[in-house]
C-alpha cells in the first residue's frame, strides 16, 4: 500500500492506494491518521477510490480512527468506497457506522 495526504478546505484527505492487508503497510495508514490527530487536525476524509481491497486489519484501522476522532470531537468520513469494500462494510454491518460519500468533494462539503 502507498499513502498520500493533502488538505482540502481545512479537511485532511488521506489517499491510500493498493491493498490494506496488515503488517507494515497497514501501520502506515494508522500512523498517518494519528499523526494528524496529534496535530489537532481532526476532520478527516479517507478516499478509498484507489484501494483494491482491504481485510479486517484495514477495517480495524478505520474503526480505530473513527472512534478516536469521535471521542476527541473530530470526525472521520469515507469517500469513493469501491464495490468490494462496500460489500465488506455491509457484511460486517460497519455500513451503519461510517458516513460515506460518493466523492471526496461531497465528503469535504459535508463538514461545512
Amino acid at each position: 500500500m502507498r499513502l498520500s495526504d493533502r488538505e482540502q478546505d481545512g479537511i485532511i484527505v488521506l489517499e491510500p492506494k493498493g491493498k490494506i492487508m496488515g503488517g507494515p503497510d497497514a501501520s502506515l495508514l494508522h500512523d498517518k491518521l494519528y499523526e494528524f490527530i496529534e496535530q489537532d487536525k481532526k476532520k478527516v476524509v479517507i478516499d478509498l477510490s484507489q484501494v483494491d481491497w482491504m481485510n479486517s486489519t484495514g477495517l480495524g484501522i478505520l474503526i480505530s480512527g473513527y472512534t478516536t476522532l469521535r471521542n476527541t470531537n473530530g470526525e472521520l468520513k469515507l469517500a469513493s468506497v469501491t464495490d468490494k469494500i462496500q460489500s465488506l462494510l455491509t457484511i460486517t454491518k460497519l455500513v451503519t457506522v461510517f458516513e460515506a460519500y460518493d466523492t471526496v468533494d461531497e465528503a469535504v462539503e459535508s463538514f461545512k
Binding site: 491493498k19 492487508m21 496488515g22 503488517g23 507494515p24 503497510d25 483494491d52 481491497w53 482491504m54 481485510n55 479486517s56 486489519t57 477495517l59 480495524g60 484501522i61 474503526i63 480505530s64 473513527y66 472512534t67 468490494k84 465488506l88 457484511i91 460486517t92 454491518k93 460497519l94 451503519t96 457506522v97
Partner: protein, 140 residues
C-alpha cells in the same frame, strides 16, 4: 527460515507479516492463470490474507522458528487453499459474534467471519499439531 520458499503450488513463509505480500502475489498469480475473474480473486486474496495474519499472529505468535504454509489446489469448478500453522489451535465457537452491538466497534475479531462470508466452504482442523484451515471457492 529467513525468506519465503515456493515449491509447486505451495508457498511457505516465516512467521512475519512482512511476507503477506509474497503470499498475495503467489495466490493472485495462480488464480489469474486459472482464469478466475477479478472479483473472485479479490475475495480469495482477502480470505487468504485473513488466515495468514491469524496463523502468524495467533497461531505461531510471530515465532521466528515457526512457519506458515499456504497450498493452492484446483478441480474443474473449485479452487481450494489450505493455510497451516504450527500453533496450538483454536475453537472457532469461541469467537465472539462481530455483528453484535457490543462488538461492532471492536478493532479486531472479524477475520474468520469475513472468510466465512466470502468463501463457499471453510474447514478448520488439526494438522500435525498445528491448525489447518481449508477454504473453497467456485471459479466455474
Amino acid at each position: 527460515m529467513k525468506k519465503p520458499i515456493i515449491s509447486g503450488d505451495t508457498i511457505t513463509i516465516p512467521s512475519s507479516q512482512e511476507y503477506l505480500t509474497d503470499v498475495d502475489v503467489f495466490i493472485e498469480g495462480i488464480l489469474r492463470g486459472y482464469g478466475a475473474d477479478e472479483s473472485v480473486i479479490a475475495d480469495v486474496a482477502i480470505s487468504v490474507s485473513e488466515l495468514v495474519n491469524n496463523a502468524i499472529l495467533h497461531g505461531n505468535r510471530s515465532s521466528d522458528v515457526k512457519t506458515v504454509k499456504v497450498t493452492i489446489a484446483r478441480n474443474s469448478k473449485d479452487i481450494s487453499i489450505t493455510v497451516v500453522d504450527e500453533g496450538q489451535g483454536f475453537n472457532p465457537d469461541d469467537i465472539e459474534d462481530p455483528l453484535a452491538d457490543e462488538n461492532l466497534l471492536k478493532e479486531a475479531g472479524r477475520g474468520i467471519f469475513i472468510v466465512r462470508s466470502l468463501m463457499d466452504d471453510v474447514d478448520i482442523y488439526e494438522d500435525n499439531g498445528g491448525t489447518a484451515i481449508k477454504i473453497t471457492k467456485s471459479i466455474g
